[in-house]
């Protein structure tokens, strides 16, 4: 029975990880239709921010929950101003420019920090479940992922900022006519998406450690999750993460991690074949 509990936890963890790495991208892609191929690097930068801050004496929670999103949020706003804004509407060019940006980030981080893995230990230790020990931190991550989704939901649905953002995304001209500045909204949205991604990077740093090249591992999964999720940011991310997280973790448990990854991709391809507009293109339509 404890095996079932542990397995359940592994699956929840897998889902939570996907949610964390995807939600920032879902906001940027879902609301701005911008494909940010530097997404993995935002995660990586968040991880480095958290680790560097912790190694300089900052409390680990502050480093992960405050420093990481702040640093990456600022980087995101700068990137939006200098690059993304210039290429609005040119989807392929945005793809390519952000790819160049990702190479740039990898290069800069390698230059500054070198190629070795930097790490910080996972806080909170472990707890026993039957015969197994599980990391408390991983449990906390599941809770944090859910909390983040809840906060975004509340902000989008219940606050003025959220309303403005949603309105601008639907109809920028109308929003402008009502006195809202679309460029400001775009910069803020991109910044928020980047910050969320930085946060995820920071939170995941104790678990996987960071290399300058760690972004590559995440970018494909995040995109697959977002695209399979469909147009509804939260419902889509949650649904796709649940589906793929389960497939990935279960396959990994019973075979190898590589088969788990391949399984995720296969599930995505099959899903897109059946539902070309993602899950929320058909189900849960009209939800956030």
């Amino acid at each position: 029975m404890d095996l079932a509990a542990v397995l359940m936890l592994e699956v929840l963890n897998g889902i939570a990880t996907l949610v964390l790495i995807s939600v920032g991208l879902a906001i940027i892609f879902g609301m701005m239709r911008v494909i940010n191929l530097a997404h993995g690097e935002f995660l990586m930068l968040g991880g480095y921010a958290a680790i560097v801050a912790t190694n300089h004496g900052v409390n680990i929670w502050v480093a992960m929950l405050v420093m990481a999103p702040l640093v990456v949020g600022v980087i995101g706003v700068i990137a939006e101003r200098l690059i993304i804004r210039v290429l609005y509407g040119r989807m392929i060019d945005t793809l390519l420019a952000t790819w160049g940006l990702s190479l740039f980030f990898v290069g800069i981080v390698t230059t500054i920090f070198g190629n070795t893995v930097a790490g910080i230990g996972a806080p909170l230790g472990s707890v026993g479940v039957g015969r197994y020990n599980i990391s408390v931190y991983r449990l906390v991550l599941v809770g944090l992922a859910a909390a983040i989704l809840a906060v975004i939901f509340i902000v989008l649905r219940r606050t003025r900022l959220g309303l403005i953002a949603r309105g601008t995304m639907e109809n920028p001209n109308m929003a402008a006519a009502l006195g809202v500045s679309p460029p400001r909204v775009y910069a803020t949205t991109f910044g928020v998406g980047a910050a969320l991604t930085g946060l995820a990077g920071g939170l995941l740093a104790p678990i996987s450690g960071v290399l300058p090249t760690v972004g590559a591992a995440y970018v494909a999964k995040a995109f697959i999750t977002v695209i399979s999720g469909g147009t509804a940011i939260l419902a889509g991310t949650a649904a796709a993460s649940t589906l793929f997280g389960s497939v990935n973790q279960l396959l990994t448990y019973f075979t190898t991690p590589v088969i788990g990854e391949a399984g995720l991709l296969a599930a995505a391809i099959l899903l897109l074949r059946v539902l070309p507009h993602g899950i929320t293109g058909k189900l849960f339509r009209g939800s956030l």
């Binding site: 690059i83 420019a97 790819w99 390698t110 995109f223 991690p257 995505a268 070309p276």
Partner: protein, 336 residues
């Protein structure tokens, strides 16, 4: 180019390539020859993406998947069979078949551009992870151990067909690779001039209109993708031969980024462009690789960004436009 007239640009490029192929071994030393051989193999790879993306309009971000498959297929087959002819043939066929399967899912599922890019990128990354995890004796295909991240060394290199003892020397290998390059370049232009090729270009212009004329767009894209996969596989085989070595790095994000950068820098929508882009970037990578001043990713990233933001068409088309302005407006299509 209806009617099969070949533009002067294409003829000139072909002649230049043949000239280089014949002349270079006479004037360049062994080391230089080996360098140029790998450059030429990479040009073939660049052509594959130039064709698939520039003419087919297919956003393939994982062309390295077929490149790597070609390399590994060659390695596994050559080790098992001991003779390179079958290995080379399979190195083209296996990636092509894989491309056909993947393409079937993508094109008949009517996925949009963006999704194609992400899925193809994921495929190459999965191969990367997959091959990296194959260390240990358990992972072997016949006599060939895959060796995971260490890669497969000491591959049997190309021999004269039917005579496994008679390996090709560097000059002969160079001739062969250049021959392949010329064949692929001329062949692709020939294909583009054919009925099939005209339809492919038209699809890139307006898919709906092509459908309305009765052409099966999905099938055309599938064929383009498959051919591109086979050509990339050939390049992979030649690359594996060059170093007598293949490792999972052929599938890496770095590798697939490079191919895209070659095409962007050289120019989308031409065949000469990717070749030029490839040569420039390869040369840069080689010179930069030997100095410690700045990280390669950093520099490539900046170049990539600069080109997308400032010279989005790439070198060859931009030069053409300048040339056209100087010489006078003319239809600047298919010049090279």
């Amino acid at each position: 180019m209806i009617g099969g007239r070949w533009s002067p640009g294409i003829v000139l490029t072909t002649v230049a390539m043949v000239g280089i192929a014949l002349g270079v071994p006479q004037v360049v030393d062994q080391f230089g020859l080996l360098q140029l051989t790998v450059f030429a193999a990479m040009c073939i790879l660049a052509l594959s993406l130039g064709f698939v993306w520039g003419y087919g309009g297919i956003l393939c971000f994982g062309q390295s998947a077929f490149f790597g498959l070609g390399g590994y297929t060659y390695a596994v087959t050559a080790i098992n069979v001991g003779e390179s002819t079958l290995a080379t043939i399979l190195a083209v066929v296996v990636p092509a078949v894989f491309a056909a399967l993947l393409g079937y899912f993508m094109f008949y599922g009517r996925l949009s551009d963006v999704y194609l890019g992400v899925i193809t990128l994921s495929v190459t990354l999965i191969f990367f992870n997959l091959m990296n995890s194959t260390a240990g004796d358990a992972y072997r295909v016949g006599k060939a151990r895959l060796n995971g991240f260490n890669g497969m060394p000491s591959l049997p290199t190309l021999n004269v067909p039917g005579d496994p003892g008679r390996l090709l020397d560097p000059a002969e290998t160079f001739y062969l690779v250049m021959a392949f390059l010329v064949i692929v370049y001329v062949g692709l232009h020939g294909l583009l001039a054919s009925h099939f090729g005209r339809v492919v270009v038209a699809i890139r212009e307006n898919e709906t209109r092509c459908e309305l004329l009765g052409y099966d767009v999905r099938l055309h894209k599938l064929l383009v993708f498959t051919i591109g996969g086979g050509i990339a596989g050939l390049a992979g085989c030649l690359f594996a031969n060059w170093g007598a070595f293949v490792s999972p790095n052929v599938f890496s994000l770095t590798m697939t980024s490079q191919i895209i950068i070659w095409v962007i820098v050289g120019g989308l929508g031409t065949l000469l462009g990717p070749i030029i882009g490839c040569l420039i970037m390869q040369y840069l990578a080689t010179t930069l690789g030997t100095q410690q001043l700045a990280n390669t990713n950093l520099i490539f990233g900046i170049i990539f960004l600069a080109f997308v933001l400032l010279v989005p068409r790439g070198i060859v088309p931009s030069l053409r436009r300048l040339g056209a302005r100087a010489v006078g407006p003319a239809r600047v299509r298919d010049l090279a």
